[in-house]
Symmetry: C2
Subunit: 370 residues, 2 copies
């Protein structure tokens, strides 16, 4: 019986004659971080030191390098997982972290989303269809202006309305003033529309400040919030998802794409593992540079069947327009949530009507060949 | 009188005929995140929307783009600063964040290091000389083995001993067992050596777990700890530096180099701003790819004279050997701390003697032309 290991899959740019040495160096860097010959304890060499599990030539000077890392070095701490799979190696220019394969016991320990795809659908009564989302912006608006926008989105029967991720706790719209105002506006509009639109405020600051914000959200009857795991710290998402069972967590990718780490891995797989019920990411063809293949891999990671982890909802976003709704739904299928922000807001006085057209287009979409 | 702004300096890969539009798009992305023509509030256009402050051709298809971002959108929250200067733009492949220039009031609000260069020197009685540091590893060692190593380092009159950044709270060396054992060994050895060697344990997990770890550190009389700001969340460093006035914070770069953000900015300037008393970074010529120019810029940012911010200690590290001590000291000057880990540990039975040779080489070094 071997040691339980996490497998980290790197893409390494290297000469073919030096790639084996490079792989061994990565295995050391991400585990014992010192020369093996200076380690006199055989148990550490056997059970703790990283192992080269495989090297494959991908062509063009690129190699896939698979490194085994002892589960014992990680435990069930999200931050320590990032630290062990890509901590120091993130500082080396020739390496990209492509994937991480976890043993089942670690998936069980991390637990993943509490609500996920099925839970978010229940919140908004969406049966077998894609969900819809929009964003409150621009930042700088006062709470009553944001509340008014939210009410108009809700009258358009949108499923979720999120704070723009730039909206934090600024003096022009403090969390404690903004969130009750917006929540009330959404409640009133939902009573009129008959659709249970859900508002999710954006958390910011340190863990304690986020807890204060969550208490306000709970007092307002909200069921979901937005968090930016790479800025907040992934352990912050992990602990909040654990200690707030009544709240679903949407993960925003801000600052996360900065990494030389595959977005499909970080956003689709790891944010899910750490407890995100929905993961927002830049759709292809918008104002960000992700390819259709990367988006498909990311959504695939978020929703892949796993008996130990609920699916996260993939939320493509970023400069999309209503005209693209059929194409996007054909691409992602119904297990998704579409986020349109600026293109709805740009309709000005026609916001509710534009939102209705968006939500109806999603609701009546017949799945294409996909 | 203008609006108080943070200036974010990007390096953008672009065609020259499209760079102005690209710059405007970045200014929008990092502020209001919606088309300006859809904003009907003149105060938001004037006071909140990002501004293009300058564009300069750097040659070779690269442009320096300077964007002004309203201080009002940031406040004094470290996470929100990262969010506003590079949140969504980090997801775009053609852009690197090169620098951030803060108005004085924001530097005052963030406060920076409490101890910094002068404070850490006082802790170890180092007058006008470079300081020394080593690391306890490999991980997998039991507390008594780590304590024994620490005692031998301390008998070699090293200034600081840190946990390897991979050492967290694993079952083979739990924080609550390891830290008292190591602290006791260092105290005993310091009494023998007469040198006040300081041990710094590595914090891990979420904010609450770090606070529990800090309480243990304080009970053991420790004066410094190690934290990884990009993994912990920069707001976690910020709040801990504020609420633990008796503790100095060393920042580890793990996972931080993953970003398309200049290390000189992230590690040298921003970690300092957020309260790191010392910043560890990969030295040139070791096993990481930073250039001498990048290291000089990073150390320069950490120590640049600033009436509002104490200097952070630049701590070059990563695969260095004793033979390089004179060269490294000539390069960085005395306002630095040298970190040698594996190359000392590899001496095995000669660890104390090797450490003594290292600390003496640093102490007697006559500054070269630098």
């Amino acid at each position: 019986m071997g040691i339980a290991r996490v497998e980290a899959v790197f893409h390494v740019r290297s000469e073919s004659q030096s790639v084996e040495a490079r792989a061994r160096a990565i295995a050391i860097e991400q585990s014992v971080e010192m020369p093996l010959e200076a380690i006199d304890d055989p148990a550490i060499l056997r059970e703790i030191a990283g192992t080269v599990e495989g090297i494959r030539d991908l062509g063009g000077g690129l190699f896939e390098v698979r490194i085994g890392l002892a589960v014992a070095t990680i435990g069930a701490d999200a931050g320590q997982l990032l630290n062990m799979v890509f901590g120091n190696t993130s500082l080396q220019e020739d390496v990209l972290l492509h994937d991480v394969i976890l043993p089942p016991e670690l998936e069980v320990a991390f637990a993943g989303p509490r609500y996920g795809l099925a839970g978010l659908r229940r919140f908004v009564g969406a049966r077998g269809r894609a969900m819809t989302c929009s964003a409150l912006k621009p930042q700088g608006l006062a709470p009553e202006r944001l509340a008014e926008l939210a009410g108009r989105f809700a009258r358009g029967r949108i499923d979720f309305i999120k704070d723009d991720h730039g909206i934090a706790d600024q003096p022009y719209a403090p969390f404690a003033v903004r969130v009750p105002a917006i929540a009330a506006a959404v409640r009133r509009a939902s009573e009129v529309s008959g659709h249970p639109t859900r508002y999710l405020p954006s958390l910011s600051g340190d863990l304690d400040r986020m807890r204060r914000q969550l208490r306000i959200a709970r007092e307002e009857g909200l069921v979901a919030v937005l968090i930016a795991p790479v800025i907040a710290g992934v352990a912050t998402l992990q602990v909040l998802a654990h200690e707030w069972p009544g709240i679903a967590f949407f993960a925003h990718p801000t600052f996360g794409g900065a990494a030389r780490i595959s977005p499909a891995l970080l956003i689709g797989k790891l944010f899910r593992l750490f407890g995100a019920d929905a993961v927002i990411f830049p759709n292809f063809g918008g104002r960000f540079g992700y390819s259709p293949e990367m988006c498909r891999a990311l959504a695939g990671n978020a929703t892949a069947l796993n008996p130990r982890l609920a699916a996260s909802v993939p939320v493509p976003a970023g400069g999309m327009t209503r005209e693209r709704v059929p194409e996007i739904l054909d691409f992602y299928g119904p297990d998704t949530m579409l986020l349109l922000g600026g293109s709805l807001l740009a309709t000005g006085a026609g916001l509710t009507e534009a939102t209705l057209a968006f939500t109806e287009a999603v609701a009546r979409h017949e799945q294409g060949p996909g």
